[in-house]
């Protein structure tokens, strides 16, 4: 009997202490975040709608957490470049330039392998965050998903001569239209993504045929250079459809389409670097981004959203088209097991 009572007491204590610890933890985070007062994200200057989007996020932040704080965006280098900077700063024992990190699966694998991210039990602390959103459990949270694909300027390339897949980009019948004028991403992740579908040799053969057609390299977020006609086509970007939706609302001549069948995905995630200066503010901002309010800001300015949050553009699109998306965890495995010689070879062919 005594034994049973002790077990019950221990069980109840554990149950309540766990529950209160979680509730307390969010309160603690809020209390600590109040002291921090601000948070800085270093990413492309147009991230989450740029200045306008961040101003709106500040309002949503105040409403949700009950205090006003400064949310800063500093226009900086690309996702992989920021990741490299965070890891370098960490190894040197310095504080991180950015309080939170935004990047896609390819760079998150590196961050995960380098143990550069804080462990946060997201779904336990924030009731609206689900386990499914934690792409790297207790590390990163999915903020939006995007289809990888081609974008082109419909004024520069007529519909009948436009590419319909990555393979069309090197089709001798079509490619003279963009030969020497085509932009490619400044990184090779987009081809590593298609390697499980095509196989190593096809990817390399494709890259070799693509290289002579390349006229420039752009990073994600530079779609305006396609819209302006500076480059008639960009071989691949994470968020081709969203870019098209976004620019077509401004009557810009931009068309986006998935580059491969099945379509490859990019899962953009947020996480807190271990050496973050304002880690609690960063946690609150990350959690805010996966609320309906945060997603509405993303949708409004970037047409981007997460398929895992009900009612978002992406969730509706996936449902309406009955799409089965790539499993993000499988994609992580692709990058984790990625053949480094393929990376080196692709870099040599396309970026040197």
């Amino acid at each position: 009997m005594l034994y049973m009572m002790i077990v019950c007491v221990v069980f109840l204590h554990a149950l309540f202490s766990t529950t209160s610890a979680h509730a307390q933890k969010l309160e603690q985070i809020i209390a600590e975040a109040k002291k921090e007062g601000e948070v800085t994200l270093v990413a492309s200057a147009s991230t989450f709608g740029g200045k306008k989007g961040f101003a709106e996020l500040e309002n949503h932040f105040a409403k949700r957490y009950g205090f006003k704080a400064r949310l800063n965006l500093t226009g900086g280098p690309s996702f992989p470049q920021v990741a490299a900077r965070i890891i370098t700063e960490q190894k040197a024992g310095a504080k991180s330039s950015t309080d939170l990190y935004l990047g896609s699966d390819g760079t998150y694998v590196t961050m995960h392998q380098e143990k550069a991210l804080q462990m946060v039990n997201w779904s336990a602390i924030f009731p609206w965050v689900t386990k499914e959103m934690e792409i790297f459990p207790q590390e990163s949270v999915l903020v939006y998903a995007s289809f990888h694909g081609i974008i082109y300027n419909s004024n520069s390339i007529p519909k009948d001569k436009a590419p319909k897949s990555y393979e069309d980009l090197i089709d001798p019948a079509l490619s003279p239209t963009w030969a020497g004028k085509m932009a490619i991403p400044a990184y090779i992740h987009w081809l590593v993504r298609v390697s499980p579908i095509w196989g190593r040799e096809k990817v390399l053969a494709f890259a070799r045929k693509l290289a002579p057609l390349v006229g420039g390299r752009l990073r994600q977020g530079e779609e305006e250079r396609i819209v302006s006609g500076e480059f008639p086509v960009m071989a691949s970007t994470g968020g081709a459809l969203e870019a098209m939706w976004k620019w077509q609302t401004k009557s810009a001549p931009l068309v986006g389409l998935p580059g491969s069948t099945p379509a490859t995905m990019s899962y953009y995630q947020l996480a807190v670097p271990k050496n973050s200066v304002h880690p609690n503010m960063a946690k609150l901002l990350i959690a805010l981004m996966v609320t309906r309010d945060g997603q509405s800001v993303l949708e409004k300015h970037d047409m981007r959203s997460s398929h895992l949050i009900d009612g978002t553009l992406m969730a509706k699109y996936v449902k309406a088209n009955n799409l089965k998306l790539q499993d993000p965890k499988e994609l992580n495995e692709v990058f984790q097991k990625a053949d480094s010689s393929l990376d080196e070879e692709l870099t040599k062919i396309l970026l040197k």
Binding site: K51, T74, A94
Partner: protein
């Protein structure tokens, strides 16, 4: 004029504290320069990132020299530099000849037209050139294609010669300044003799004047070469998106890689080789400077050489200058302004006109990050020149007034940042700041930018102040010394008032440099140390072309009156300084 009485200090201390202070300041500055240069070499012998253990190795050199990409980048850099020189030096020479050697009317206006070019950041002009001469979106190309019914753009800025051309146009005012100084000091007797003997003006120019100023021209060529090798602005804005990589942009990607971790060791090896090349280039530069004195016979203030009469050719002179002003300044700014009004980049058309708005400008007013960047810029514009003036005064005093054995070495060290590409100092200080971030938490702060600006521009300050101090006769100082006046008081009460124009000129020039600088800032900028140039660069590089354009226009509009006032004052001070010779 107020008369100042120097009190005589009867009790002379055993230790001359003021001299010790000056020595300490000069020593600290010299040590900073040598440390950063040493850091580049040290980096080149290590692998990994700062803070990671690494054995000393020559692997980085082997990797660099064994990579075909290195040679590709070096070839591109050399072609880029050659075109830069081919554009800037002849244009600088022609403008200098018109202004210094002919009776061209309104010379002051002409000088101002060229000076304005120096005042505005190069990267802003480069942005404008993209919208003017890009083969697909360049307004001039579109106009020419429509006018002549062409299917392809006749001009292309997105090529190595194209970016060299833009860099050359932006460096023309500097070439003009360097060459015009030599023309002013040129011996006019031979030209006069040629004129008396009926030699044509063109023949006189080619056979007499050109050989006479050849040393100055050669110095300008070497100088432009070192500037072009290190330049980030134009290769960054136009080259990077168009697959054109020069030395500076290649190093940028080594430190900010799209794959893997920063390769500090490799960039250190690159830097060490470039330091070597730059120092070798300085040998002919100094020889040319030394030889230039052979050709200079200033005939006294009363002598006024007869200017070449241009006749109707003055129209050609002004036509050339006007075309330059239009191409290098007016059109790029107009192009930036046009883009700032549009929702996305479009060529001028009726449809484009219907969508123009000032929306971006209203947003700028509420951008706190932009205000932060502006504040940092102003801070640097005040503090950097002030520190430079203090340190350079100490160095120049030791070099020109003391009898210290090591003063020549000190002068040589102070000159070192001149030939070495500045971005290497930025690289070195970034590495150092990361390495010591646990002990001295300066990494990512504005102080790192401040430190590297000071180190890099010490060479400029010491050149100006050496010249100013050398003109002050020792008698004044010796008289004060005999009277027992301390070194501090001599410096403050005797020397500083006499070299005031040089000090002010140095202050203003370095302040303007802090306002314009992008190359070093882009390597060191962090959220807390954003300046206007890096803020605009961030917008441009992140795809916000219209936002970058709008901020650039506001930056020019706000800073122009200040910068112009600065510049007019600086020129006056320079005139005062030079008239003292």
């Amino acid at each position: 004029m107020s008369t100042q009485v120097l009190t005589v200090d009867q009790s002379r201390p055993l230790v001359n504290w003021s001299k010790l202070w000056l020595l300490a300041m000069a020593g600290f500055a010299a040590l900073s320069i040598l440390t950063l240069l040493g850091m580049i070499i040290w980096m080149s012998l290590r692998t990994g990132v700062p803070g990671q253990p690494s054995a000393y190795t020559l692997k980085n050199y082997a990797a660099l020299l064994g990579d075909a990409y290195t040679y590709k980048v070096m070839t591109t850099t050399l072609i880029f530099a050659a075109v830069t020189i081919a554009v800037s030096v002849p244009l600088g020479f022609i403008f200098a000849w018109f202004i210094e050697r002919t009776d061209m009317p309104h010379k002051t206006v002409a000088m101002s037209v060229l000076s304005i070019g120096i005042l505005f950041p190069t990267f802003l002009k480069a942005m404008g050139w993209v919208f003017l001469l890009h083969p697909r979106i360049g307004v001039i190309n579109i106009f020419l294609m429509q006018l002549f019914g062409l299917t392809n753009a006749p001009l292309n800025i997105a090529t190595v010669p194209g970016i060299g051309f833009v860099q050359g146009m932006t460096l023309t005012p500097l070439a003009y300044v360097m060459i015009s100084a030599a023309m002013r000091g040129m011996n006019p007797a031979l030209v006069e003799a040629a004129s008396v003997h009926g030699v044509s003006k063109l023949r006189t120019l080619v056979r007499i004047e050109l050989p006479l100023i050849w040393p100055a021209l050669f110095s300008a060529i070497i100088w432009m070469l070192t500037v072009a090798i290190a330049a980030f602005d134009v290769p960054g804005v136009i080259g990077m998106a168009n697959n054109i990589f020069t030395f500076s942009t290649a190093i940028y990607f080594m430190i900010n890689p799209n794959e893997g971790l920063p390769r500090y060791g490799l960039s250190g090896a690159y830097g060490t080789i470039m330091v070597g090349v730059s120092l070798i280039l300085m040998i002919p530069y100094f020889i040319a400077l030394k030889q230039s004195h052979k050709y200079q016979i200033i005939s006294g203030k009363s002598y006024q050489p007869r200017p070449v009469e241009l006749g109707r050719w003055w129209l050609v002179a002004w036509g050339l200058l006007g075309a330059y002003f239009l191409l290098a300044f007016v059109l790029p700014l107009l192009a930036i302004f046009w883009v700032s009004l549009l929702p996305y980049v479009q060529a001028p058309s009726r449809q484009a006109l219907s969508v123009i708005s000032f929306e971006r400008y209203t947003q700028i007013a509420f951008d706190s990050a932009l205000l932060g960047a502006a504040w940092n810029t102003v801070l640097l514009m005040v503090l950097v020149p002030t520190i430079i003036v203090v340190f350079c005064s100490a160095i120049s005093w030791i070099v020109t007034r003391s009898r210290l054995r090591w003063r020549v070495a000190l002068d040589a060290i102070a000159f070192l940042p001149h030939p070495v590409p500045n971005l290497l100092f930025a690289l070195a200080i970034a590495y150092l700041a990361l390495l010591v971030s646990n002990v001295i938490p300066l990494y990512g702060t504005i102080f790192v930018l401040m430190a590297v600006y000071v180190v890099c521009w010490i060479s400029f300050g010491t050149r100006v102040l050496n010249n100013s101090m050398i003109q002050v006769h020792r008698e004044l100082e010796e008289a004060a010394q005999v009277g027992g006046v301390s070194t501090w008081r001599i410096l403050l009460k005797v020397i500083v008032p006499l070299i005031k124009p040089g000090l002010i000129y140095t202050w203003i020039w370095t302040s303007l440099s802090a306002y314009r600088e992008l190359t070093m800032a882009v390597f060191l900028a962090s959220p807390k140390s954003q300046v206007l140039s890096t803020y605009i660069w961030g917008q441009w590089h992140g795809g916000g072309l219209g936002d970058a354009a709008a901020i650039a226009i506001v930056m020019i509009a706000v800073m122009s009156p200040l910068v112009t006032t600065f510049w007019i004052y600086a020129r006056k001070q320079q005139h005062v300084a030079s008239s003292a010779t």
